[in-house]
């Protein structure tokens, strides 16, 4: 190989997302006729999930496949662009913003000062909301004890009247089972189903209304700049292909899992009305505005995002 790059993922080795990411790494080797080899490492193997940006800048890692919101503490803009809670109803909408709506250019404006180049975006898809109690709309969130990861998701749920609790992912199952919490922001439907979450929390809201993380694939800027243009194009194209493949694979798995859950007779899948979704989105928007005030870049993200949503008729 002419170029060997070491990338770290934000997913652990056994996770289906990691396995899909490995297929991306293989596809890069194929598409570049072996000119680029990507060595993909699971989360925490070199540095912690929220330290990869520094490690790439320092040349310890060459790149990462990671949820951008892990860097919200460095600049609120990362939190807002990574998961503008309530903004997207489908992965294609986010890809549209990234590829044709100026999102990619904006991402590069954000990460380049940190020594990185943004190659492209993917996502595990729209998350499903896990709940032990039936939820039909925003009013049911009042006083709901729920797990939410730190960041905008937590903030929006708090604004909607819920009581967010901080828990590591591995504690979600037991906490739902024992009633420490009633609901959880966790992950996509198929994974929730596979991990047995619906056995203890049989009232999922699907499709979710709350969260669709932006997973960025980026690399060290100097090393990117040193690549010939055709290899840069190969990388960019490979990420585009991968994002579509990942979304398709997970959507298919989700659909199968939803059928399975419905057939079991134990699980009631709730689907919120457009009205309720809009209500939640308007609460979320209020929180975007607050985040936008935290930094100049965050304001830039807010402006670009709302302009795009408006141009697509997605904003009410």
């Amino acid at each position: 190989q002419e170029h060997t790059f070491r990338f770290q993922s934000s997913d652990p080795a056994g996770n289906p997302n990691f396995q899909l990411q490995q297929q991306w790494a293989e596809s890069v080797a194929e598409m570049s006729d072996g000119a680029i080899e990507i060595d993909l490492l699971p989360v925490e193997s070199i540095v912690a999930h929220n330290e990869t940006q520094d490690a790439i800048a320092a040349g310890i890692l060459d790149g990462h496949v990671t949820d951008t919101s892990y860097f919200a503490g460095r600049d609120a803009a990362f939190g807002l662009i990574a998961n503008p809670v309530g903004a997207w109803s489908a992965p294609e909408e986010m890809f549209g913003f990234m590829e044709d709506g100026g999102g990619a250019e904006l991402m590069n404006e954000l990460v380049e000062p940190y020594g990185l180049h943004f190659i492209g975006a993917t996502t595990p898809g729209l998350e499903s909301f896990v709940s032990a109690v039936p939820l039909e709309g925003v009013d049911d969130l009042q006083g709901l004890k729920m797990r939410a990861p730190e960041g905008l998701v937590q903030q929006v749920f708090a604004a909607a009247g819920a009581s967010p609790v901080n828990l590591p992912g591995s504690e979600v199952f037991t906490s739902l089972d024992k009633g420490v919490i009633d609901a959880a922001d966790y992950t996509v439907f198929s994974t929730n189903q596979a991990q047995g979450l619906h056995d203890v929390a049989p009232h999922p809201v699907y499709p979710g209304f709350h969260s669709m993380p932006l997973v960025e694939i980026s690399m060290n800027k100097q090393k990117w700049d040193a690549l010939p243009a055709e290899l840069q194009d190969v990388l960019t194209q490979s990420v585009r292909d991968f994002s579509r493949a990942q979304v398709a694979a997970l959507a298919e798995a989700d659909q199968a899992a939803v059928e399975e859950a419905k057939a079991s007779g134990e699980v009631t899948v709730h689907d919120w009305s457009d009205e309720e979704r809009a209500k939640f989105r308007s609460i979320a928007q209020g929180e975007w505005e607050k985040v936008a005030q935290r930094s100049e870049n965050a304001q830039k993200v807010y402006d670009a995002l709302t302009a795009y949503l408006e141009s697509q008729g997605l904003l009410n």
């Binding site: 540095v47 591995s170 037991t174």
Partner: protein
């Protein structure tokens, strides 16, 4: 000659061997273990990559001290430090006389029972070994117990702290392997009690074969009123156990919060007993800072070393090593056990978990084993690591409170039969995985 990067010429395999050789040599020179691993990490960061890789070490140190799970470590230590300064543990030990009674080997059995109750309150070792070393060891030596037997019971019993739930080893495993800590606790209960049962059986057999090794108590049997008085010593510890495990299973607290509930329970117990003073709390907190400094910095060093090793390509090397050994899942499993056993001689369990679990758990799941059961297997294996020389934490803890004429060498020699019992328990757990689900 260019020094930076020169080690890369070795290749991963020989470099791994060199790493172990360096660990062993530096370890026995008396350099604090935390700095041995940090030094080896530094040497390989510089020697394999160059100065640009050194920030990887500080980054891992930062991430290590900032993880929520380790919050339970100071809580468990603080609990032990307060117990140690109150009369609670001594009264518990006296109450357990009713179990050991006038049997041959009774005090040793009494010690193991106390160890199990302490283990059900707290989740680390260290506190337990020290407590038993202070309370039980002098009594057994005074009664003329075989010294090796007495030492072994104290160290192996104290190490049960991480086998009987709650357990910090299971908590960390749960997070690395992404399985429920509650499930792990449930699955570990019977195997933990089984291991304690093996120790009891061993004491009984030794006492039966050689009455001089474990003499019975002499003197009159306690009267009924005396028995009732002794039983009172059980009440507070049992209440603390109920508060800790009850708050987890009752849905009141998360696993980490439950460790703080335990501390509050022990503090309340000292208040009830009229023993609470500000000085007691201050001294206990200072001792906690010191113990935690020791434990966490050992973890810090191990974490740094694991990061450097992974950057050198260690993950692929170890995966290839394991999957290349055989097609038979059980052979692979046993090979993993051997690796854990060898690592347990040099590294702290935190380092072993960080290094091996991301590699082992996906392989284990692929082979069709249950990751919860494997967590219990891992935890049992770490029991061995606490006792095995040259790096055997239980031995060091005991050494810090044992009479000066007992050397570290004596302690390690005493632990050999108990290591054999642990390996036996591990074999039983592998042969009959159902034990984890009773």
């Amino acid at each position: 000659m260019e020094i930076f990067g020169s080690l890369q010429g070795l290749g991963v395999g020989p470099a791994t061997l060199l790493m172990f050789a360096m660990l062993l040599v530096l370890l026995v020179t008396g350099i604090p273990l935390a700095f041995v691993t940090l030094l080896v990490a530094l040497v390989f960061a510089l020697g394999w990559f160059g100065p640009m890789a050194v920030p990887l070490i500080t980054s891992r140190v930062y991430s290590f001290v900032g993880s929520f799970v380790f919050v339970s470590v100071p809580m468990f230590v603080l609990m032990a430090a307060i117990l140690d300064r109150s009369g609670i543990a001594r009264d518990l030990f006296d109450a357990m006389r009713l179990v050991g009674g006038r049997l041959r080997g009774g005090v040793a059995i009494q010690t193991i029972f106390v160890a199990v109750i302490l283990a059900a309150m707290s989740g680390i070792i260290g506190g337990e070994v020290v407590l038993l070393g202070l309370i039980a060891l002098p009594q057994m030596l005074r009664l003329g117990y075989d010294r090796n037997l007495a030492i072994g019971v104290v160290c192996a019993g104290g190490a049960l702290g991480t086998m009987v739930p709650p357990s910090i080893v299971l908590i960390i495993y749960g997070l690395t392997a992404n399985v429920s800590v509650g499930d792990l606790f449930q699955a570990a209960l019977i195997p933990g009690l089984m291991l304690a049962g093996f120790y009891v059986a061993y004491v009984l057999i030794r006492a039966w074969l050689d009455p001089k090794a474990a003499p019975a108590l002499t003197g009159p049997a306690p009267s009924t009123s005396e028995k009732l008085r002794l039983l009172r010593g059980l009440v507070l510890p049992i209440l603390v156990v109920i508060a800790v495990l009850g708050s987890i299973y009752g849905g009141i607290a998360s696993v980490t919060e439950a460790s703080a509930v335990g501390v509050a329970g022990v503090i309340l117990s000292t208040v009830v007993r009229g023993e609470f003073t500000f000085t007691l709390l201050k001294d206990a907190a200072l001792q906690t800072l010191q113990t935690v400094g020791m434990i966490v910095w050992i973890g810090i060093g191990a974490s740094a070393l694991v990061g450097v090793f992974n950057l050198m390509g260690g993950i692929d090397f170890v995966s290839a090593l394991i999957t290349g050994v055989s097609d038979n899942p059980h052979v692979i499993l046993i090979f993993m056990m051997v690796i854990l056993f060898v690592l347990g001689m040099f590294l702290d369990w935190v380092g072993i978990a960080l290094l091996t679990m991301p590699i082992f758990v996906p392989i284990i799941t692929d082979l069709g084993f249950d990751p919860v059961w494997f967590g219990v297997v891992f935890c049992m294996n770490m029991q061995v690591s606490f006792l095995s020389p040259p790096f055997g934490p239980a031995a060091f803890y005991l050494k810090s409170v044992a009479p000066p004429d007992i050397s570290l060498g004596d302690i390690f020699r005493s632990l050999l039969p108990f290591i054999a019992l642990q390996v036996l328990a591990l074999a039983v757990l592998i042969a009959f995985p159902g034990i984890a689900w009773l």
